[in-house]
Amino acid sequence: MENLYLTIVLAPLVGSIVAGFFGARIGRAGAHWVCILGVGLSAALSLSVVAGFLWGDLEPFNEAVYTWAVSDGVRFEIGFLVDRLTASMMAVVTFVSLMVHIYTIGYMADDDHNWPHESLAGRHSYQRFFSYISLFTFSMLMLVMSNNFLQLFFGWEAVGLVSYLLIGFWSTRESAIFANMKAFIVNRVGDFGFILGIAAIAAYFGSLDYAEVFAAAPGLADVEVALFGGVSLLTLIGVLLFIGAMGKSAQMPLHVWLPDSMEGPTPISALIHAATMVTAGIFMVARMSPLYELSETALSFILIVGATTAFLMGLIGLVQNDIKRVVAYSTLSQLGYMVAALGASAYAAGIFHLMTHAFFKALLFLAAGSVIIALHHNQDIRTMGGIRRYMPITWLTALIGSLALIGFPGFSGFFSKDAIIEAVGASHVFGATYAWVLLTVGVFVTALYSFRMYFLVFHGQPRMDEHARAHLHESPWVVTVPLILLAIPSIFIGWYAVEPMLFGDWLAGAIHVAHEHDTLAHMAEHYHGQWAFILHGMTMPPFFLAMGGLAVAAWVYWWLQRRNPDIDAELQRRAGPLAAILENKYGFDDFNQRVFAGGSRGIGQVLWQTGDRRLIDDGLVNGSARTVGQLAARVRHIQTGFLYHYAIAMIVGLIVLLTVFVTL
């Protein structure tokens, strides 16, 4: 089994290395073939692992493959933990990644136009892009398949690095560089908490292995750390680790990087900033469920953060005009839903939503990308409209994605979102009611912004210029095939997975839920098959809110807009200060820019001028370098070149040794 798992992880890495280092030699086709083969192999094997768990008798695997170092009894290992949770993640990651790889062939086909003429960075950018996304797949697999915190951290940082590289892929664009810097720095804040959490685990548990830590956790449940007047150790660890998750999964207030990350090429927005990497935090918390279950404070914290993000970010989506940014804020909001599920101890629901979201959000992004290609990299939805007629496949798949997103009954998102809201409603941790209200209202917002975008882009009168309209046509098959392949699970995966994932024993061994928190078990008592679930869902407020949102969107952006094409701008004018707050994204960006960025630059300036230049450069570094240089120039005269000097030096050395150790 070890070899199988190693192959799954390493196949994308091989593809990445070949495409990255030998890209110039093997050409564009060579690069995309080798990467697609690597990821394809990985995807096929991952699916076979899932099949093994589903129908075969595959047992969970937990073994170290390589011991990197041993220090004071703490083993630093590379190892795999492959259980059903991991297998689900592997399948999602590799499948979406494969789709994105194929899609990229079409999307990046004329990437040369995105670079200044004759720019060095633009040489072989196509191969470089493939190398990066394969490297991302490798890193993400390392993250999800890890059986210890060290490797988790490696994968965590590696996906962060690739994300940084890809957001700034078009490195000649000012805005792209700003965005990737921002993403990197904001993630540093999260990672700081994350690594402190890991350090606390290493310090108190003396091990980095999941199984050992989980086994020892109940014994340490009552330990308190003398911090802020005594905090439970597990709360501290839980919150610290979750701060890492807040960075990676873009929860408020560390969410600011994700909308800007849309500066990267659309395929990676789909893969990294919607389907997989940003869900790493969700996965991590679910994987750590044995720790979180022991700290209700941490759960409560998670629940409140998630619900707040879900609601507030959804609102911003209402006023965005960039097609990718609308989807990005939708991603933020949906991530909030998943996090809220974790806070309610409905880990399985979080993971379930993660999976369905991965498919339909990747689908929405890729559909958006398809529109963007067709419009020659124009992303403003105010200048779109009526595209339905020109791009039927893109239209249909985007509709499916939107329906899944708002939780239309029967579509995959319906099952997962409903489960989350119900689980939160059934939860008793502090803040559960607050969260339930926000999440429920959020459903309305989701439907509204989703269908606002949908109607503005695909329906109504075409608002693009004549030239663009003349060239409007459906994208090539490398783009549409992934759309179709992603649309299928967007519709059906919820129907098939709801029972085993939420109410069955699919995640039984991987996720641990304390009895008193077990909201899903409570729901399971009332579960009587998919039809019953749907019918029950249709009597609940979220359904009516979703339909209401859909109806409002249809009325305003379809019905009213026929008469008044500027309805959107007019509405925003009327909303006045409310729209302004949303436009400014609640002021997070400005605050960060002024206080944190400006402040640290100021401090840096001072330290640089006085500390670094005067003290360290002139005094310590240059001063000591001069001293050493002079000393060396003097000492070198020892080496005279005369043989008898050498011989006498040896003999004197011997005599010194004899005198010190024998005579004295």
């Binding site: 390589y66 990197w68 050493v628 060396a632 000492v635 000097h645 040794l657 010190v660 024998v662």
Partner: protein, 478 residues
């Protein structure tokens, strides 16, 4: 004595090398001047066969054969394999240089192979006699190789110095051995160890002999103040010989130290620990200081060797199994880095021109990106910059020293290695930020690029994944 052929199986690698060296001498008589490349191939095959044999007969229980003179254990397996691997690199790197200067004769290959044999004998020695003879075999080959370019005045001078000082050094070693023989009545390491354990520090003759042994070891390693030969020989000898002399023999010297100090005189640890502390501090200090003042890169690398020897001694003097393993790790790693660095110098040299000055490295990046990267990698690694393996090696020896409570020594070591970082990074600076002084093409053919790439990747890869090599080293001192 019954002469059991099974006895000879552990000795197979040595026998193969001996046969191949003799075969090279004979074949040399029959091949024409234009076909001397055959000898190169033959030597490579020989070393590869010996390597295969080492791995084949290696592993398993400790075996002592040939009336107690020869031992095969985990230590000897690992060190021999590494010596042979470095030997392979040496042959591959130096081929073009030797051919261009008409030095690729049978004698060169025979002497180099005999030198490898000498190292292997040292590694597998289980008696003072075998150690001494292996040492002499190695030394004699090296003296001849240093003077190998008969037209070089500097080579002759260097060989002369090396020979006289070497004779002095091995004379002292021999005197020490005779003292210890006098005190214990045996030349076999295990018997000596038994007597030493019994008499310990009370017997002054043992300590007296030990001082001489340490001098011999110090000379072989090139530790201050027995280092004076190192810079002159490195500068004077042909670069391929420096490559051979500066890499694998460090591994053999480690074996020498381990066999003598640990296997033989482990009971006198408190004494040799003190001696090694002195040598180690002096070596790290003087080596790093003097390297800064050099403009000749071969001399600079010579002083760098001296400073690295100080670090190897740190691991040895810790006196714990972890310390020995760290020293072994360091010696192996150093041999690889030195092979890479001198290999680059060989590539930079061409007919009638030897790359010797720091200026010759200027702008290497503009001439060949890959070699520039490998050289930079070697320099970073030697300077001890993570994640390269040189950092790991330093880390392990420092940890060993800290573990026995000699934190001050670790601080001294770190201090000197910071000074040392300067001259390594200066080379990186020259490679990347200066304009080349010449645009002459680099001489490399066939396997050189492959071997150099493997060498570079090993330095990087072992830095990222040091556990395997470290486990091998630790297994040698269980």
């Amino acid at each position: 004595m019954t002469f059991d052929t099974v006895n000879l199986i552990p000795v197979l690698p040595e026998i193969l090398i001996l046969i191949l060296a003799s075969a090279v001498l004979l074949v040399d008589l029959y091949v024409k001047e234009a076909e001397k490349g055959t000898l190169h191939t033959l030597a490579l095959i020989g070393v590869a066969l010996a390597l295969a044999a080492t791995l084949l007969v290696g592993g398993g229980e400790r075996q002592v054969v040939l009336e107690g003179h020869y031992v095969r254990d985990a230590l000897s397996d690992a060190l021999k394999a590494m010596i042979l691997i470095v030997g392979l690199l040496v042959f591959v790197y130096s081929r073009d240089y030797l051919r261009d200067r008409g030095l690729a004769t049978g004698e060169y290959y025979a002497l180099a192979l005999f030198a490898l044999l000498g190292m292997m004998v040292m590694v597998s020695a289980n008696s003072f006699l075998a150690i001494y003879l292996g040492l002499e075999l190695l030394a004699l080959c090296l003296y001849a190789l240093v003077a190998f370019d008969r037209d070089s005045q500097r080579g002759a001078e260097a060989a002369m110095k090396y020979f006289v000082l070497g004779a002095l050094g091995s004379g002292m070693l021999l005197y020490g051995i005779s003292m210890i023989y006098g005190a214990t009545g045996s030349l076999a390491l295990d018997e000596v160890a038994a007597v030493v354990a019994e008499q310990g520090l009370e017997n002054l003759v043992l300590v007296f002999g030990l001082a001489f042994l340490v001098v011999g070891i110090g000379f072989k390693f090139g530790a201050v103040p027995f280092h004076m030969w190192v810079p002159d020989i490195y500068e004077g000898a042909p670069t391929p010989v420096v490559l051979l002399l500066g890499s694998a023999p460090k591994i053999a010297a480690l074996a020498l130290a381990v066999r003598l100090l640990i296997d033989g005189l482990g009971g006198l640890q408190s004494d040799w620990q003190g001696m090694l502390v002195i040598l180690s501090v002096l070596s790290m200090g003087l080596g790093n200081l003097l390297a800064i003042a050099q403009t000749n890169i071969k001399r600079m690398l010579a002083y760098s060797t001296i400073s690295h020897v100080g670090f190897i001694f740190l691991g040895l003097l810790a006196g714990t199994a972890d310390g020995f393993a760290a020293a072994m790790f360091y010696a192996i790693v150093y041999a690889m880095m030195a092979a890479g660095a001198f290999g680059i110098l060989l590539i930079l040299s061409r007919r009638g021109f030897d790359a010797e000055h720091l200026d010759d490295l200027k702008g290497l990046n503009d001439r060949d990106t890959w070699y520039a990267a490998v050289m930079a990698l070697m320099m970073f690694s030697m300077a001890g910059v993570p994640p390269f393996v040189g950092f790991m090696a330093k880390l392990f020896v420092l940890k060993a020293v800290v573990d026995i409570g000699m934190t001050w020594l670790a601080i001294v070591a770190v201090f000197f290695s910071i000074i040392g970082a300067f001259y390594y990074l200066r080379i990186v600076w020259l490679i990347y930020f200066d304009k080349p002084t010449t645009d002459a093409p680099l001489t490399d053919s066939g396997g050189v690029r492959v071997a150099m790439s493997l060498n570079g990747l090993a330095v990087l890869g072992l830095g990222l994944f040091p556990a395997t090599l470290l486990a091998i080293c630790q297994a040698a001192f269980l």
